[in-house]
């Protein structure tokens, strides 16, 4: 065992993977936690995703480690959700249909939201925002998490979600509108 010969040993590869992946574990877990909506499943998804990532590590060419890992976390979640046949409504997401009527009905009013200061007050109520986010379809939830919590660019989000830039923009708009309406609906006394 003293001489391993030329090339990288398994341990070397593991160390490299460790160095690349460790700093992004929080981001991976945060995304998984928002997608699965509970800590136990988030653990499972992240664990499975990291095993996959390690297996595919040979194909990783450096660069955006975070985006690469988040792509794998996301794919793992959707595969996992499909297999479990749980979260059915999350998996069967209809881009065009989701909340579109609400979008059209409330677009102008919501965009010109007459009372931003009021919403500001509500923003202080973390629990309300969290509950409203958790009620959104997974595709809306993930895009808001990637944009607002991870502060990723449209380009990075497009790469992770696997859709064109235009879809990132339109999906973000719909997600925001639906979230706003959700918060307002839940805030009714």
């Amino acid at each position: 065992m003293e001489f391993r010969g030329i090339g990288l040993s398994d341990a070397d590869i593991a160390r490299r993977f460790d160095a690349m992946a460790a700093p992004h574990l929080d981001a991976a877990y945060n995304l998984a936690r928002w997608l699965t909506r509970n800590p136990h499943d988030a653990d499972d998804v992240v664990q499975e995703a990291y095993l996959r990532a390690f297996r595919f590590f040979g194909g990783f060419r450096g660069g955006g480690g975070r985006a690469w890992l988040l792509t794998i976390v996301r794919n793992t979640f959707y595969t996992w959700a499909e297999q479990r046949q749980r979260h059915k409504s999350d998996v069967e997401f209809d881009e065009a249909g989701a909340g579109l009527e609400m979008v059209e009905a409330g677009a102008n009013e919501a965009l010109h939201g007459a009372n931003p200061e009021q919403l500001l007050l509500r923003a202080a109520d973390q629990q309300l925002v969290e509950a409203a986010l958790l009620k959104l379809p997974a595709e809306y939830r993930e895009i808001l998490v990637l944009r607002e919590l991870e502060e990723l660019s449209y380009k990075e989000i497009a790469a992770i979600v696997g859709v064109p830039l235009g879809t990132v923009m339109s999906r973000l708009s719909r997600a925001r509108l639906q979230l706003r309406q959700q918060i307002e609906a839940m805030d009714q006394p």
Binding site: A11, A14, P39, Q47, P116, R122, A123, E130, L144, M169
Partner: protein, 271 residues
Amino acid sequence: MNTMNCEEALQLLPVYGDGELELPRALELERHVESCAACAAALRSQRALSRAVRSAPYHRAPDALRARLRAQLPLPAETPTAAAPSLTRARQRPRRDWSRWAMPIAASLALAVGLNFMLATQRSQDSLREELIAGHVRSLQVAHLSDVISTDQHTVKPWFNGKLDYAPPVRDLAQQDFPLLGGRLDYIAHRQVAALIYGSRKHTINLYIWPAKDGELAPNSQGSEGYNLVHWRHDGMEYWAVSDLNVQELRHFAELQIAAGADKTANVPNS
């Protein structure tokens, strides 16, 4: 310039709020928002929603999960032999490796700051490249290639006088099959810069020039979105050549520019 109407402004507001709107449009939008109470309210409302989402919990990975993930990697276990070299032992001691996963808060904060800085630098390079390509593409699309159309460097060079606070070197490379086509002012990285337009067979090259902050830099090429960019620094100037020309020829163009800098007969003296 046409002023932006509310319909356009409302469409662009989210992109603006996300910091993804290109500068000229962002400036137009800001002008509109300044004079339109409804759109200003929409922007405030949008920002409030963004803050609301950011107030939602960020779930950090539990330490137990970090430990479990590490345990699954084929990292070497602690060596039982006391005779092993101390360096190896230190590297392989699990507790030490542990510390990387169960990082103390201070260290991870420092790392986060460092990473953010790296990302910010990376992003600003990316966005500069995007701006340069956007400028190149725009110049071809809107038939606004040149403000001064001339194949004569002695016409192009003085045209920049008084329009910029520096004098871009204008070189004629017609002999080397890169004829000068004209010059233009462009707005890159928050400043007015000189753009020289050269032809090469059917291709167009935009050469952006502005004063450099530091040192010399040999030409290095970078591809992006189907365009090639070659970047170099020479004689106190920053140069970016953008074209759909293949990368070898674009580099050759860069070498010719540098060589022409040394050859005084190819230069137009500052007037």
